[in-house]
């Protein structure tokens, strides 16, 4: 089933030089080849490739679509049809930071809608719009998001996909003004903030030079509430037998 895709010199091969004026450098090209090589079938690399494109450009541009198409031997239309399907691929350049506020029902009932309304007012932007010049320091793109799988910590928001838990309109407002001022407040759970593009590079699967990020906190008190109560009360699952038996090999019919 393995499909050869990265042999240099094959006609559809992605290893030809980038067209002049391409925003994608040799390193990005090399990374793209690594992504393609990770999968039994090359096309599976498309989603990571689109994340890679966003790490360079802060959105998926026409050049980005062509970059993916060239690496996968697809047409630009095929890549475009995929890119437009997914919320995380941005059609317009993103700010230095992307702020995503969960406004799904649970968070909204706890204040998520108010947080979003407050940030919209203060930044003077709507969904997927940017305060400041996209990509420049302190620019912030705002969006409302669906459930971010942190409902026990709601209302939550994310900056560049790192979690800020148990927010209020005031705390969110302060957070965003600090981002606008070029500061990088610490997430509740997740690594110290960099920017949207660096986050996209990691989503594509490249973590070079960022070894310490993995150490960053991931556990909120809520996460371990059950485990902690059990430890305090001495509650455990029933003990396992010393030597559990495996069933015999079933007979073939």
């Amino acid at each position: 089933m393995t499909i050869q895709h990265d042999k240099p010199g094959t006609p559809q091969g992605p290893s030809g030089p980038e067209p002049t004026g391409s925003p994608f450098d040799e390193l990005t090209d090399e990374r793209a080849r690594q992504l393609v090589a990770r999968y039994p079938v090359a096309r599976s690399a498309l989603l990571p490739l689109l994340h890679l494109v966003q790490s360079v450009e802060g959105h998926v541009s026409q050049a980005g679509i062509e970059f993916c198409a060239r690496h996968l031997d697809l047409s630009a239309a095929e890549v475009s049809a995929v890119a437009t399907f997914y919320t995380m691929y941005k059609r317009k350049p993103c700010g230095e930071h992307l702020v995503s506020v969960c406004t799904n029902t649970l968070c909204a009932a706890l204040g998520g809608d108010d947080i979003y309304a407050r940030l919209r007012g203060e930044l003077g932007v709507g969904h997927e719009e940017t305060a400041g010049e996209p990509g420049t320091p302190g620019s912030v793109t705002l969006e409302h998001a669906e459930c971010l799988a942190a409902c026990d910590l709601g209302p939550v928001l994310q900056v560049n996909y790192e979690y800020f838990d148990n927010q209020t309109p005031d705390s969110a407002s302060e957070l965003v003004s600090r981002l606008r001022a070029g500061e990088r407040p610490e997430p509740t759970r997740g690594a110290p903030l960099t920017d949207f593009r660096q986050a996209e590079l990691q989503l594509a699967g490249f973590f070079e030079g960022r070894d310490s990020d993995v150490e960053a906190p991931s556990t909120a008190p809520e996460t371990v509430r059950g485990a902690r109560i059990a430890a305090e009360k001495g509650w455990t699952a029933p003990a396992m037998p010393d030597e559990a038996e495996l069933p015999p090999v079933p007979e073939k019919k």
Partner: protein, 442 residues
């Protein structure tokens, strides 16, 4: 505080999957190995793959991703000796509103998932596995990537794992923001680099899944349970939970409770028991409605406090166990508003492939928004139920069925709230026309 369920001797909380979460650097390979990590793998690699499939069948483990399909049976559907490559795909797309168990599991204890992946892949004879994680959880993706790298360096992944002759590659694959990609066939299309739209079934993934080859798709919590079953045996697993829904389960409690969070308890635990553990309703404001397992599972009310939350219990009471995402709402929350919010979610996430869901969710959202704005009439309630009727069972995938759950259950238990909105509209209009009449009299 509740005591062990009489007669069973099983504690109210049974940390198995969450047992390591309190340990320092619980996510590291070192901690994992110190706490029995990868001991199940050694045992499994010494067994025949079919013994492992039988073990999981005997354990009664059922899928933790929502549908509760028996896991061992799913593995057994993979044709053996067919000469095709086999694949294992982990569904880590966790996007069902309310669901927040898989992401903390993968952040706190990624190696338990990876150990489960290796054992499962060995059992179904797969040499390539993908963990499809939703894209918005960067720290989780980071931890998974580090865990895969460390496992490979330690010889648990790659070629000839622990000298067994078994090879396995694992790729951590970040999605890109689409709830529908949690549906297993949409997930496979997405993993193949396409738009995430569901496929026609049959063929099922077991015969034609990833790259048209036999594929097992399982949820994170399902596969993370496997190493414990290998070490503890099927009888041990069955000491927790109930006969047809055995084992421990992570209940995620969110919303208007004093202490929201993750609580791993035996299957069949009730909301009353969970609320007791979670310190009761926040500030004592009474409970109004709740979901047993995410927004796609029909709402429950305070009448359902004693429903055993396992697959049978929840469905006998008219809902579904889903993902045990217990979202709790108090009296201050309007049901029509909550239902409108969820419906906006389904409208946004409908993949557009089939008409009943694409058009239906659009009209449902429009109608509910109008009602919540105070511009609805009683006939809107009938319209809602009609549209739901046209979606339920007639859409291409289960997203459509999920979309109608909050609406039909909301109207079933709280019709008066929808009627009150219409009533307000009528009297509001009447007031306005009365004002106009008076104004005209001057």
């Amino acid at each position: 505080m509740s005591e062990p369920t009489p007669g069973t001797g099983v504690a109210p909380l049974t940390p198995v999957l969450t047992r390591r979460w309190l340990s320092p650097r619980s996510w590291s390979l070192r901690t994992y190995e110190q706490l029995e990590g990868y001991s199940a793998l050694r045992r499994a690699l010494g067994a025949h793959p079919d013994q492992l499939i039988q073990l999981i069948k005997d354990s009664g483990l059922r899928g933790r991703g929502g549908a509760g399909f028996p896991t061992g049976m799913k593995w057994g559907f993979i044709p053996q000796g067919d000469g095709k490559p086999h694949y294992l795909v982990i569904n880590a797309d966790e996007g069902e509103p309310g669901t927040c168990k898989d992401i903390p599991l993968m952040m706190a204890d990624p190696h338990s998932l990876i150990e489960g992946v290796i054992i499962t892949a060995y059992a179904i004879r797969a040499n390539f596995a993908a963990i499809y994680v939703r894209g918005e959880v960067l720290h989780c993706i980071r931890r998974l990537n580090a865990a895969v790298r460390d496992a490979r360096e330690a010889g648990y992944l790659g070629k000839d794992i622990l000298g067994s002759g078994f090879d396995l590659d694992v790729v951590v694959h970040a999605g890109a923001g689409a709830y529908i990609c949690g549906e297993e066939t949409a997930l496979l299309d997405s993993l193949e680099g396409r738009r995430g739209q569901p496929r026609l079934k049959p063929p099922f993934p077991a015969t034609a899944g990833l790259y048209a080859s036999p594929t097992v798709v399982n949820n994170v919590e399902t596969i993370a349970s496997v190493p414990y079953i290998v070490n503890g045996g099927s009888d041990w697993f069955r000491t927790m939970g109930r006969d047809r829904s055995p084992g421990p389960k992570i209940y995620s409690i969110s919303g208007h409770v004093e202490r929201p969070g993750q609580y791993e308890a035996p299957m069949g635990t009730t909301l009353r028991q969970l609320l007791e553990l979670a310190g009761g309703m926040k500030d004592g404001v009474p409970l109004k409605f709740w979901t047993p397992g995410g927004s796609s599972t029909p709402l429950f009310t305070s009448e359902h406090l004693d429903v055993p939350l396992d697959f049978e219990g929840a469905s006998e009471a008219g809902s579904m166990l889903g993902t045990t995402a217990v979202q709790v709402f108090n009296e201050t929350v309007s049901v029509p508003w909550a239902v409108m919010k969820w419906t906006e979610f389904y409208k946004h996430e409908s993949c557009g492939k089939c008409t009943p869901c694409r058009e239906g969710t659009y009209w449902l959202a429009q109608t509910l928004q109008r009602m919540v704005r105070g511009e609805g009439t009683e006939s809107d309630i009938d319209t809602l139920l009609d549209v739901c009727d046209n979606i339920l069972g007639r859409s291409f995938c289960a997203l459509g069925d999920g979309a109608v759950s909050p609406i039909t259950s909301g109207i079933k238990y709280f019709k008066h709230e929808f009627l009150e909105l219409c009533e307000k509209n009528r009297t509001g209009k009447a007031d306005r026309s009365a004002d106009a009449a008076l104004a005209g009299a001057h």
